[in-house]
Each structure stands twice: as structure tokens, then as C-alpha cells.
Amino acid sequence: MCPSCMGLSKTGLRRRYKEHFVETLLFLSAITSIVVMILIFYYMIHESLRAFATIGIFNLLFGQKWHPVGDIYGMLPLILAAFIVTILALIINIGVGVPLAIFLAELAGPRSRALLKPAIELLAGVPSIVYGFLGIIFLVSYLQDSYYMLTGRSILAGSILLGIMFLPYITTISEDALRAVPSEFKEGSLALGASRWQTIRYVTIPAASSGITAAIILNIGSIIGETMAVLLVVGNVARLPSPIFNIFAQGATFTSVIAGEMGEAAHGSLHYHVLFAVGFILLIVVSILNIIADLTRARIRRKFGGY
């Protein structure tokens, strides 16, 4: 009998064991996330090792041709397309999302806010496959007809779709950041004779900037990692666009290549392992972005204490 249990009755002892048992169970469920994260990294590395070993890290990352039939794999077309898609989508995303957040946080009356905020949160849940479906039917055919493109499936279509798709996310997080700015800041500025816009421009937005930055970084991660919508509208042709800034060309991103080609890749073939390598690179990029976003958020907490 342990010393600390001395003097306890039988029920007390059973109680104590139960307490320990529950705590252990809860601890185990808490470390599930760590275990899963380690498992994911282990399996991604394990399955992609062969691709890196056969092709070589440099050739795989910066090879200019992606040609599965000839077993030629270079990820440069994917990296470039993913980069262009992300930048363009982000421009749309910020250009529409941040004003929308300012509108909700500063301009909208309480009643329209009470209606709009849940509506926007609701739209965050629309499945990506549905966005892809609508993108194919409306966006792709619009681009194809209006701009005389060979096919509307293009890097531009992917960017527009992703830009719209992640609007709710950036809006909700930016709005929270704008609202978290203490009202004393704004009142002080207004009392000094600044107009409402000057207050927003020179006080509220700078104070909320770390929150908005965190929202943007998180969104970059989501945009890069988005799969189904991109797969359907981007054309999924892994070729370097010519000229390099040709956003009207078909392209393929990390995710669209994995989702589009995994079904055809024979289990255990080089193609299969290369697709895992693409997934591994994607995982690394997104993880780094997440860590940066986390640090940015931690900075706001320190700056404003609790916000």
C-alpha cells in the first residue's frame, strides 16, 4: 500500500484509483493529436523516400517536366502554378474579404450584422466539391466564352474560385481582430477630431494588423491545401505556362496532381511514391505557414493582453 493511501477507507481507495484511471484516459486522448501528427509525418516520409532516392531531391523539386507516362517527374510546373494560383486567389480574397470585415465590424448596424455574420459563417461550410461543381458550370464556361480561350479550365479560374471560396474565413477572423481593438483607441482618435475613416485607417486597422496578418497566413495555407475545387477547374495539365505569366493557361497544383493522378498510379510504382513526395512537400509548406500564423497570433495576445 502506498504511503499516501494510508488511512483511506476502501471506498476512498477505489475512488482514488478511479480518479487516476480517468486522468490517464484523458491524457491518452489529449496526446492522440501528437501521435497522429507523428504518424502522418512518418508515413509521408516513409512512402516518399523512394521517390527522393530515385530521382534526387533537386531534380524532383526543380525539374521542368512532369510526365508520368515517361516516368519523368519535376515539380517546377506544380510549384509555379500553385504559387500563381495562391497569389491571385489571395489578392481577390484580401481585396473583398477585408473590406467586408471592415463593413461588418465598423459600418453595419446591429441588426444587419446579426443577420450577416451567421450567414457568412454558414457559407464557410459549403463543401469544396460544390464550389468545384459551380465553378465548372458557371466560371469555366464564362471564361471560355468571354475571353476566347481554348478551354476555360485555367489557372485564372482556379484563382477566382479559391478567392471566393475562402472569403468567409478571412472575413470572420479579420472581423474578430477588428472587434478586439479596444474601443478606447477609437474613441481617443475620434475625440481628437479624426473622421471615422481616418480612425479606421490609422488606428483600428494598424491595431488589428497582426490578427489580419494571421488570418491571411492561415488562408494561404488553406488555399494551397484546397483540393477538390482546384482539381475540377484548373485543368490539371502539369506544364510550365508559356509565357510564364500566362494565367489563361491550364495548370496543375500540388493538390490537383495528387487527387487527379493517384487513382491511376499503380500501388508501389515510382509514380505512386512521387505523388506521396508531392504530398510531403505540401505538408511541409502548410506546416511552416501554420507555425508562422501561430506565432503571429501569440504576438497579438502579448500586445493586447487577452485579445
Partner: protein, 415 residues
Amino acid sequence: MKTKVLSVLSLATAAFMFVSSIISLILHPTLNNIATIWQTCLIIMIGSISLSAFIYRNMPLDKLPWLAIDIVFDLAVFLMIFIGLLNPDSIIRKPFGLGASFDYDIILSTLILVAGILGFKDSINILYNFSAKGQEVMVFTAIRLTAVFALLILGGILFVIIYEGIWAINWEFLTTPHRRLGQSGGISTVIVGTIWMVLGAMVISSPLGVGAAIFLNEYAKSYRVKRIITIAVSSLNGVPSVVFGLFGLAFLVTHFGISLLSGSIILGLINIPTIILTSQEALKSVPNSLREGSMALGATKWQTISEVVIPSAMPGILTGLIMGVAKASGETAPIMWTAVTFTATPMQMMYGIIPNVFQPVNNLDYHLLNLIYFLGAWDVWTKAWGTALVLIALVLGTNMMAILLRNHYRKKISW
């Protein structure tokens, strides 16, 4: 006074040009008639702006060049149409080798759009004497317009799906399995498969997620342990869904095959961070006085948590769980290679109630994906819209439940 009338006139013209050019950019009609109207608009714009600038007494000289540039731009557009440089046959073919061409309609609409925005800026500036107030009006109008634009798009998405999908929905569609590659029949097996898979995901993720949240909020004493778990949760939250699919393919499919079980485990893992984060919020909002009161009455820690803390945090935890249901029903990429099949497979039951977890199932998202692939080749148009509507109804319905629940208790609970 005269300037006011003039700038209101130019403001109205600018607004018309702005709206009509956006409409023509989107709808892409032939611009035979409206081109004349736009020419008139440009003339009105040039006249009213230059006239009001002329009448206006305290015109700040440094603003004058900007006005001049805008007027020159309007004039240039007008002349280009007038002398026929820009005519219905003009087209810019693949500039710089881009894969697109821009025809008369697009070019003209874009130019008019720019002219409208410039005219709007100038008229507001003149109306408000180039003051900060004018700037504020301008920016707030732009913000409001952007908000309206975003809401129109987001509302349009819902409207279109309901409008197109409602015609496919009938009793037969919901209660029969699909036949002939989804061209006829309904989606009953698809709905049943989705429900079982999401249910399985919740069975796996809710105890793990809620348990982890309780541990983090109530038990974890070491800051470092807490920090490490939190980092793991947030990185798990950021893992792209397609990577989860690859992980499932490498890890689960080798053990369980392409099966309901693999899909449920993957979706469950995807859900865990959402549930942990929302449950943690709910637990944090329970005030310490409740815990202390229970402890003071002699209850053990676990008794306090299970009898006092969890019931108080229940609405928040439930919200998180419902959000998890919505998230799990909307994922496609993680289950594509791990759990699903397109052929209609009715759920096999063991002992009548438990599904056979080792069989591949149908899924709404995957079904829709396949119908999209078939769109051009087979007649699946209405079925695809119907599937999209059912999917949206499932996901948004559960999401709405979560939001309503949260808002209801947020108002009601005051500690």
C-alpha cells in the same frame, strides 16, 4: 450651388456607367445600343466635371492635374469610339502570347468601368470640396459596394443550387439507389453511406476530442505539455485534406482495405482539432467559482468535472460536435482512395443493426464528383444538381443548427 447640381449629375452618370459596365462584363451582351448611351454619358461626364471645375472658386491647384487626366481619359475613350478605332469588330488577339483574346465588348466595358470609377471619384471630391469628409464617403461607398458584391456572390451560390436542384428532388430520388452510372434512379445508398461514415467519424472523434479538451483545460498543469499538445492540435488542424487521404491510403488501407472503417477513422482524425478547439472554448467559459463550490462540498476532481463542469459546458461542446458533423460530411479528398466506391452498394448489416465496417460505401461528395466527371458525356445534369442540393442541405442544415445553438446559449447564459 451650381457646382452641386453639376456634380450630382456627374455622380448619377458615373453610377450608371459603373453598374451598366459591370453588368455587361458579366452577362457579355452585344453592345450595339448601349455604346451610344455610354458615349452620351462620357460627354455629360466631361462637360459637367470640367464645367464645375471651371466654376469652382477655391479649386486647389495641386488637384487640378488629376482632374485633367481623368477628363483626358474620358475624351480619349469617346474619341476612340467616335472615329471607329474601337468598333464592334476590333479584338486584341492573344496579347503577349496569353491564351486569351479580348473583344470589343470586354474592352469597351472595361474602359467604361474605369471611366465610371474616375468620374465617381472626381464628383465626390468636388461635391465635398476635396475634404477628408469626401474621402471618407468615397471609401465607405467602396467598402459597402464590396460587401454587397461579396454577399451577392455568396447568396447567389445558395440560390442557384436550390433553384436548380429543387427539380430533381422527389421521393423516388431520395429512396432508390442510382442506376446506369447515375443517369437514373436516386441516391438512397449514397445518403445512407454518408450518414454511416459521418456517424463512425463522430464515434471516433467525439470522445477523443472532448477528452483532450477536458485534459487541456482541467488537468494539464505543466505549461510545456499543454503547449506541445496545443501546437500538435493546430498543426493537425492545418494538414491539407488531401494529405489525410494519402496518409489513409498508406496507413489504413493496408490494414482495413478500402472500407467504411478507414473512411470513418480518417474523417474522425480530421474532426478532432475542431472539436478540441470549440470544447476548450466552452470549458474556459465555465467560471471557477462553480468548480470551487463543488470541490468545497467534498467532491473529487472527476466528480466535479463530470457533474458540474461538463453539464455547464454542454451547449458549447455540442456546437463543436455538430460542426464536426458538417465538416465530415463535406470532405471528398480524404476518402477518395480510402473508403468509397461509385457502384451502388447497399449497406450490409450485421445482426440487423451494425453495418459491416469492412465494406466500401457510397458517399455524397464522391457521387457528386463522379457525376461532374460524367457531365459532358451522359445525361446526369439534374441528378448532379439534386445531389449538390442534398449535400448542401445536409452540411448547411447541421451548421445552422450549431450556429443557432451557440447564439441561443450565448444570450441565455450569464454567470
